[in-house]
Symmetry: C2
Subunit: 393 residues, 2 copies
């Protein structure tokens, strides 16, 4: 196990009807709130009215900014920053999924930023200060409700980039499983894929002796798969949603990655796809992640065989770890296929003549003969990215 | 799953050599520290010198108070409170195991307490304010390094009582596995038993659909058992200590208990034994916990059968859950016996003529015909405590 320094301060208020008391929860910690959200779905569902009503009832002042799109855009964030500064906002409340929360984090950091907020993303710098952020989670998937990360798309440059900072960890997140009953099946599948991938990026490692955290990763992955199948049967299964939602938070609050070298290559590669083709993150991952697994599994067959047995439930294959490792990845593809997820770039709608070399070079920041290989089970250079995308055809 | 409200703010600094940088870690958050510790063992090991050296190097002012005994005593706590007030201490650093950390928490709360600190314990009141507490953990067992709890013994009244409050959660804990290499084998066994029991108290539940957290509990329990056996072979196995230490923290930081009704009957019963006979907490638990399991397993056979299969590794026994549940508890006794833990009151040194009725009535606060049954899988009245102790003979 590697040394680590772990803390996660997010208060999680979890369960039935918890989204009705947002005003009460914010009153002790917020004076003037930016209420940030996406499309009209929270208005149609009544969630918007419930939250606005609760804020008003408790006398919590707020201004609002809707319109966040999936793969959140820089332009709206800049608008949000200006609004916060003008209105003297001291707290950002995101009501939405990962995109809304990531957008809220960017606004929260941008308020204290002298120059251009995009600079942090472009240069991979960590903002030291941000307004406190809270969330009411409407899509369990991205884990942004207790993560230090924010991923934003700059439409002008076709870049989708991430930052991370302890200052961006939400102080409070409300997770109310009943809010997820009306999510369309493809959103459910994308969310399941996204949270599983957050665990995979941490799980597969070359670090030796990572017993406790291996076990945590494996048990959460099994729970996600079991309950995802229940949701396919009945999208209003409260118990299954509660498990999936809590798993999604655990998948990305850092706990499942302590003490081990991590990957994040599949995420970086997927970001290049969605930056140009605007595909849902979870859909892009369901193509890229198994391709990455197949590309790197030879570098640590025992780890991938352990995955096959402990996560995918295959028989142990100590006498032929190569076959066991291969079958584990195949079983994951089968499961994701059953969830209705795309497994090839073609299913994802990426054209055959997509600029694969350009995307690959962007993924490793390859410029003028220099590049930053993606880390993990095996270092990934731009040519490796090309081969992984090839495996995803 | 039940609704829950979860937060744990403790920053865990984990790994090799982390105990050498305590001064650096405290400098930004402490002005004048109470350095609180137990017997001379930290002086013999060199840890005391390392910490004092680090505090001095970073210019962190401190006063000190040693002498904490296992099952920490009220008298020393009162001394610590007076010392903190006199010296203007603003931070308490516990260097030790659970007893030292629990004592430190009592002192930290006592500084803000108008009356008698024992009042909080006697009346089960939660202190609202406390000085910030940090710890350098020298025995992985009690989980106090990131728990909101403190358990203190009042020698005068022969009472061992607990309090809990968010204000008592340490802000920082240093977990350095190399510090544990010199622990005597019985301490290792007591620690392993204690952390397993922290999970058992949470794990066994009548709450339905607790899938994710069941899995977390089960995987951590399996890791503890696997690595405890490695430590029996080699007490200087860094990797095994790292797993055990991290498991011990996870076992009691609240995470493994969210969303479910918990027990704590075995802990309450054990406290009555150690309040009078001053037995090590882990040793008392290894007698009481399996007895409690045998007493209550009939109330939820599927849960105890799940334990037998998923934790103790027995074959599935869906066709005879009663036998499967029984064999699971037997397998736990076998494992604890292998660790050298006592399994009967006699092995624990409790005399045949101990005041069992008195202890049982103290456990349920039975007075004047009223009592507060211990909650959990089955409500436990004083007569039930008698029967559980009988099963432990």
């Amino acid at each position: 196990m590697l040394n680590f320094d772990y803390q996660n301060r997010t208060r999680i208020v979890f369960g039935k009807d918890t989204s009705k008391n947002v005003g009460q929860l914010l009153k002790p910690i917020a004076k003037k709130v930016l209420l940030h959200y996406g499309s009209g779905s929270i208005k149609r569902s009544g969630l918007y009215d419930a939250i606005v009503g609760s804020l008003k009832k408790e006398g919590v002042d707020f201004v609002e900014l809707g319109g966040v799109k999936p793969n959140p855009r820089l332009a709206l964030i800049e608008k949000g920053i200006a609004l916060c500064k003008k209105e003297g906002v001291d707290f950002v409340l995101a009501v939405g999924g990962g995109s809304v929360i990531d957008s809220a984090k960017a606004i929260a950091a941008g308020v204290f930023c002298e120059g251009d907020i995009w600079d942090f993303y472009a240069k991979g710098r960590s903002p030291e200060r941000a307004l406190p952020v809270a969330s009411v989670l409407t899509i369990p998937a991205a884990g942004s409700e207790s993560s230090p990360n924010s991923v934003v798309t700059n439409e002008a440059t076709q870049q989708k980039l991430a930052i991370g900072s302890p200052a961006l960890v939400p102080v409070l997140s409300v997770v109310d499983p009943e809010l997820y009953f009306t999510l369309p099946p493809e959103q459910v599948a994308y969310g399941v894929c996204d949270m599983m991938c957050h665990i995979f990026e941490r799980y597969f490692t070359q670090t030796a002796h990572t017993d406790v955290v291996d076990g945590l990763c494996e048990s959460v992955l099994r729970s996600i798969m079991r309950n995802a199948l229940r949701l396919k049967e009945n999208s209003q299964d409260y118990d299954a949603w509660a498990e999936i939602a809590w798993a999604g938070t655990l998948a990305h609050n850092g706990l499942l990655g302590v003490g081990r070298a991590q990957n994040w290559a599949a995420h970086r590669i997927e970001h290049e796809l969605s930056a140009i083709y605007d595909v849902p993150h979870g859909a892009g991952l369901s193509v890229v992640m198994p391709a990455w697994m197949d590309y790197v599994r030879g570098e640590n067959l025992p780890m991938f065989a352990q995955f096959a047995v402990n996560v995918m439930g295959l028989d142990g294959g100590s006498r032929d770890v190569e076959a066991c490792a291969r079958e584990g990845v195949a079983a994951l593809r089968t499961f994701w296929g059953r969830m209705g997820l795309p497994l090839t770039l073609m299913q994802l709608g990426i054209p055959q003549d997509a600029p694969f070399e350009l995307m690959s070079k962007k993924a490793t920041k390859c410029e003028g003969g220099k590049e930053i290989p993606l880390e993990g089970v095996k270092p990934i250079r731009w040519q490796d990215v090309m081969r992984i995308l090839e495996l995803g055809r």
